[in-house]
Symmetry: C2
Subunit: 343 residues, 2 copies
């Protein structure tokens, strides 16, 4: 005997508890959900059995009759500090509810659809999609199928809620800061989306367009120069380096994201005549505050965005159907990586 005891990972079920406590499955179910109509004596007995057998109900089975009490989040970059802040904010909004959060990680520059569908297949009660790489119509359709909040892309929908940072404002305060210091030759680092996506309102596109607009309005059309990289340290390093080698000599670089700014820093360090280059970013990630980095950047208040996204999602799960569109202000954080031009 006992030969196969640990072999099969058989789960304890509600039936086991019912047998052990000598009651019906329905009774166990009621105790589980604190439903009305159970005697104290029965409740005690059932709870004892639950503890003794270390029973935990399967969410799947539960989900067949209703909710799974699960919120799914889709992200595409696990090291991104802004996303980490958003997740912390979401946690704070969800903490006192019975909902659990699970995260699906989409491929870095790959489509968000597989990750979103994977959550949908697992029957989450709601989805938070962070800057998803997906078509507007596809997202619309998804919003029809499951309560959804989208964070980052300036895209309003009738089927899901949207919460974005005020990217125009963020870029404006940053550009005003740089121009105020006396910079005119300001380059911008942007993120290249894969060719198959045509979603015009992703944050980096807005930032790039605003950069162009502000340069033009300042009469600096000729100084506009864009380094096309990715919002990631290494690609930004490579592309910045390539641009510097090709002769680009701005007095300031405004990177569309902190990681891209870090990459530009690394590249600039390799050119003696770029010692006086000002560099700024976007996101106010943790390392931006490091004294050796001390990056001027734009804080998007990710924690608060995540918290509000969580609140919106809970409302939707509870039945709200009208769409919300929220734009949150940003804050300029001035540090020592930006200073007046030295040439």
């Amino acid at each position: 005997m006992a030969v196969d005891e640990s072999q099969e990972h058989r789960r304890t079920t509600i039936e086991d508890v019912a047998t052990h406590a000598q009651v019906s499955r329905a009774a166990v179910s009621k105790v589980l959900r604190n439903a009305y109509g159970v005697s104290d004596e029965m409740r005690l007995r059932v709870n004892a059995s639950i503890d003794e057998l270390r029973y935990r109900p399967r969410i799947s089975a539960r989900g067949m009759r209703g909710r799974t009490f699960t919120i799914g989040v889709v992200i595409n970059d696990i090291t991104n500090n802004f996303i980490a802040d958003v997740l912390l904010g979401l946690s704070s909004a969800v903490a006192d509810t019975p909902f659990q959060t699970i995260v699906a990680i989409a491929e870095r520059s790959g489509p968000a659809a597989p990750a979103i569908e994977s959550l949908y297949d697992r029957q989450v009660d709601g989805i938070l999609a962070i800057s998803p790489l997906a078509d507007a119509e596809w997202l619309d359709d998804m919003g029809r199928r499951v309560p959804m909040v989208q964070l980052g892309v300036h895209l309003s929908s009738t089927t899901f809620d949207t919460i974005v940072g005020d990217d125009s404002q963020g870029v404006e305060v940053m550009m005003r800061h740089l121009m105020g210091l006396g910079h005119r030759r300001i380059a911008h680092i942007t993120h290249l989306d894969p060719a198959w996506i045509s979603l015009p309102d992703r944050p980096h596109i807005i930032r790039q367009n605003e950069y162009r607009r502000i340069m033009r309005e300042a009469g600096l059309d000729d100084e506009i120069s864009i380094i096309t990289a990715r919002f990631e340290e290494n690609t930004s390093y490579i592309e910045s380096r390539r641009a510097f080698e090709a002769g680009l000599r701005p007095t300031a670089i405004f990177a569309g994201n902190d990681d891209a700014a870090f990459g530009a820093m690394r590249a600039a360090a390799e050119f003696d005549d770029l010692a006086g280059l000002s560099i700024s970013g976007y996101d106010d990630s943790h390392m931006a505050a490091n004294p050796r980095i001390s990056l001027t950047t734009v804080n998007q208040h990710g924690h608060e965005m995540g918290r509000r996204a969580g609140a919106l999602l809970l409302e939707r799960i509870e039945g709200r159907r009208e769409s919300r569109y929220i734009e949150m202000p940003t804050t300029l954080v001035v540090r020592s990586s930006t200073f007046p031009p030295t040439t």
Copy 2:
């Protein structure tokens, strides 16, 4: 009519597809799973209906009769680069399988149990627990319930597999490096676990013990000094600062983790007489390579660890029952943050 069409988020079911394609549910199920015994004509018809209705089977319902094809990962720090590398490695191992990965994030210094149980409740087919903050017996019991691999803690079990970095070796090469540069007054920054946990073999404990052992064996008992912080930039900044204010003046600091090293850097920058302080870390995170940081550190090969963890987990899911214990070598990465003592 049509008043409630978008109101209820009703899902398309296998029944809907069967009706639409004029076949039985069993037939749809077979097409779904590419099972034998379906005529080409029927397959075509069913697939057409599936596409038209955009039908996706519920994993929950599927899971009731078998697997959910889901791997659950538990992490406690979303911004940690080492963990990000592990996740990428896991993805590469799981990429060509039907398994999907979902992540549950445990509270930063809180117990891992709720996150692990949440995955278990959702009936994942296997769990990868990264440096879980949990009792050994509790983990043992969990391993009996579900295929599990634990990464990080030097803890061998009969119910789950373990994969760890060779922390002793990592500390040894780092200490040898520092001592080789001529350092004798070497301080160590460690991580403080919450009081309720008593798992002696977490990585930072091993690192601290090795540091002590090597110092003693070098006859440097009197120079041993430990800064107790957390493996996180800000706490490390605060505690390092406090130690410096109290008069601690090492020539080198070996932090048990890169983020802790970054915090120490920030603190040291505030003391003029610490300009010649060497600082090193552990993990080889992305920012360690930044030219302004250029941190000497230990690479744990997180990607490879994650890949092997994924392979172990798949084996377990396929039925292996004997436990594996794998220890992976580390590599010293020397950069410019360490140099001979200046005093």
